[in-house]
Amino acid sequence: MRGMIEVEEHTLANGLRLVMAPDLTTPVTSVNLWYGVGSRNEAPGRTGFAHLFEHMMFQGSAHVPRNGHFQLIEEVGGSANATTWFDRTNYFETVPSHHLDLALWLESDRMGWMLPAMNGEKLENQRQVVMNERKERYDNQPYGDWDERIQALLFPETHPYHHSVIGTLEDIAAATLDDVRDFFSTYYLPNNAVLSICGDFDPDHARDRVEHYFGAIQPGPDPPAIPGIDQIPFSTGATLREDVPGAVPLPRVYAAARVPPFTTDLFYPGDVVAHCLGTGRTSRLYDRLVRRRLAKSASCHLLPLTSGASLFMVIATGFPDTDVDDLETAVTTELDNAVTLTEEAVERAVTGAETRMLRALQQVATRADLLSMYATHFGDATRLNDDLGRLRQVTLDEVRSWSRNHLNPGNRALVRYIPEQSS
């Protein structure tokens, strides 16, 4: 099959799962680590901590000076970064292939020897950086806080997705150095991580180096259960809503639904629905909202979340003179009408998804990240190879019944941004 990726998987004695997929096309190698911890694991009063902690991981470790991580990677012509999300935190480096050892050494040093390098001054510095990140991306940005509002509306307070990844300024301000130590000892364990290596390398050599750098890191107890109650019905009971009047230039509607999570077979019909509604110029939302000038733009997203439920979402932006009620009606009409999707639309959506997946796989960094994702959530990285097949197998009946069950008005949260007259 086109795009089939050969994968070799091992588990070290300390529980670290290693996924390797060599490809000698370009002398570039990507190292990608997924830790099984994200904003869902945050204790009450500590929202945003998983992300703040991610910043601390770049502040040096026992053998790496502060900012040494970026400096060493940039010096050899590599790139590095990390992201925090609901269910996981990922760290990655892409380097010219002869510098694979450097990337492994850097990642292993912070997995095993981070705490000796931590101090209060570094925490203060990164606390300021993260507070600025929040202000720049959420508070000083039109629509910037939409995900916070959607999450709070769609998921009950007891659910781990009720709060945003960035967290509140109060909670970020409250984080202590003890929190950093506890979080590290609880979650940053080899037995709570997946290490993927993709690109130009010799698997035997890489495996040997991974044993060398990571083998001595001590495992720990399984991380504690996720706080709160993650099992919730795929139903909100009624259409929940919040209106946000304010300094936004254009009206915008976010419409979200609680849907079956990534780890269930019912995720795939949802994925097909999301593509049919929102991807490409033939999609329903483009065809019926954008072409008819009911919206300036419209998109649809299904997030690959795993904790009890996932999040399905439509975002539609109007024109300056669009009435927000009309925009809402246009969006909810298409959610209601997803039950009328056709065989032709499904076929086209899956064909498009296949080509886009191949395009994404051209980059070793993406490949490594996807392998880590499947290994983390399914315990099987090779599932990446089956995923397009799963999409292909979805039937029109499944698409329609999924839409009927999950996109109805009894499972809906609406956040509407409304431009204020004075502005």
């Binding site: 050899v76 012509g77 110029r281």
Partner: protein, 452 residues
């Protein structure tokens, strides 16, 4: 553990070569460039037209961008919906992108489908309908985008800064996508006239990168573009007169802002300067990487910001040099002070030998990292067309980067960074930030209303 104390040495280096570029023009002068690449069976085909926003006539600002958008709006044969169906039925993604110097229209699909996709790409470019209703739809979208830019602090800062460093009649003084006033006056006829004058085979190219045979592509391109009639006039170039140099600070008052969007810079360089590579090194050291002087100072030392960067925009005429960041109100003046300190120090003494070494090693190293996908390679080749650079430019690019010396970098920093001409724009709460900015004594502080 043995060996844990210091970074491990590199392994044996594996050679990287930019793939060969087949280059043979069609009879009408249109260039065809083909790169064979990829085991995944994909292809990107891109038509590059020297039809950028710089060539839009006065009073029609935004026309090139809008005409580019409207290429998706159907051809004289196919409606917008029919065009989209034909391309998406074969899994293709497509779209047009317009910059100051070019319009590119690209299709990306399985290589097996190129034979169906390339004719549609050619049809979009050669026979656009510019139907009035479709044109009005794209126009409404661009007008809404312009309205958005007025309220988005980052866009507002960038647009205000461009207006402040360029002269009133300068091309780059305005936003790329035009203003609400200029867009409002545009009609489908304008797009037809623009396309007739600017879309044509001369100075244009079709770039195809992927799992293809270059001879087959050439034949396909010849069939689709070979009879495209000659259009000869050179497009007008961007005008840059600049302003009276001198330091100034403009505060755009946005009451209640919790942060200040800061832009500091001056009119920069064109892509044609001889010391472009040394200047690239200088910019990397200043604010072009995580470990840059600006980022280590403002973010990692002071904790003022989530990030700060500097850029020299590469255009056919002199694009802006800009340092940009967003910081809290209380540290706005301090952040501007630190930006000036870093810019002044670098323009005076240039980068150190170590910094040059690190920067050249970085640029040479990341080059193949950014050449993995067919789209990335096609975009690079399109850039060569736009700037008239040789077809084999990237063959020894990494060697030329490594050859940049400290002396060259110091000279480039002195020549192209002019601290006495730095213009500062701050979009934020003037009541909170203006007094501190006055105290810096950098230059006169002017406060502007949001609506101005």
């Amino acid at each position: 553990m043995t060996g844990r104390g210091k970074p491990p040495p590199p392994g044996p280096i594996r050679p990287y070569e930019f793939p060969p570029v087949a280059d043979e023009p069609l009879g009408n002068g249109m260039r065809v460039r083909v790169v064979q690449k990829q085991p995944l069976g994909l292809v990107t085909a891109m038509v590059v037209l020297r039809a950028g926003e710089s060539a839009a006539p006065a009073g029609c600002e935004g026309l090139a961008v809008l005409a580019g958008d409207a290429l998706e709006g159907g051809t004289t044969r196919l409606s917008s919906v029919e065009l989209a169906c034909r391309l998406e039925d074969i899994g293709a993604s497509f779209g047009a992108a317009t910059g100051w110097d070019s319009t590119t229209v690209a299709v990306s699909c399985l290589a097996d489908n190129l034979v169906d996709a390339l004719p549609l790409l050619a049809e979009m470019v050669r026979s656009p309908a510019f139907d009035q209703a479709e044109f009005d739809r794209y126009k409404a979208q661009r007008l809404a985008t312009a309205a958005h830019r007025r309220m988005d602090p980052a866009s507002l800062a960038a647009d205000f800064h461009a207006r402040s460093i360029y002269g009133d009649g300068d091309t780059y003084a305005r936003p790329l996508g035009g203003t609400e006033a200029s867009l409002g006056a545009l009609e489908a006829d304008h797009a037809r006239q623009y396309a007739a004058a600017r879309y044509g085979p001369a100075r244009a190219a079709v770039v195809v990168v992927g799992d293809v045979e270059s001879e087959e592509v050439r034949q396909l391109a010849d069939r689709e573009f070979g009879d495209w009639g000659e259009q000869s006039a050179n497009p007008p170039e961007a005008v840059v007169a600049g302003r009276e140099p001198g330091r100034s600070i403009h505060v755009v008052h946005r009451p209640g802002s919790v942060q200040s969007e800061i832009r500091v810079g001056h009119v920069g360089v064109s892509r044609f300067i001889e010391d472009y590579l040394p200047l690239t090194v200088v910019n990397l050291v200043l604010g072009g990487s995580f470990s840059s002087r600006l980022n280590l100072n403002l973010r990692e030392h002071h904790g003022f910001t989530y990030g700060v960067r500097s850029t020299f925009a590469a255009r056919r005429n002199r694009g802006p040099f800009v340092v940009s960041t967003a910081v809290e109100n209380s540290v706005t003046a301090a952040a501007v002070r630190e930006i000036f300190r870093e810019v002044e120090a670098l323009s005076e003494s240039g980068p150190t030998a170590d910094e040059v070494q690190t920067a050249t090693s970085y640029l040479a190293g990341v080059f193949p990292l950014r050449m993995e996908s067919t789209g990335q390679v096609a975009s690079r080749i399109a850039g060569l067309i736009v700037f008239g650079l040789p077809v084999d430019y990237y063959r020894d690019y990494r060697d030329r980067i490594r050859e940049v010396t400290r002396e060259q970098a110091v000279a480039a920093a002195r020549r192209h960074i002019r601290p006495r001409e730095l213009c500062t724009v701050v979009v934020g709460d003037a009541e909170a930030v203006a007094p501190g900015l006055e105290d810096l004594k950098i230059g006169p502080v002017t406060i502007h209303d949001l609506q101005s």
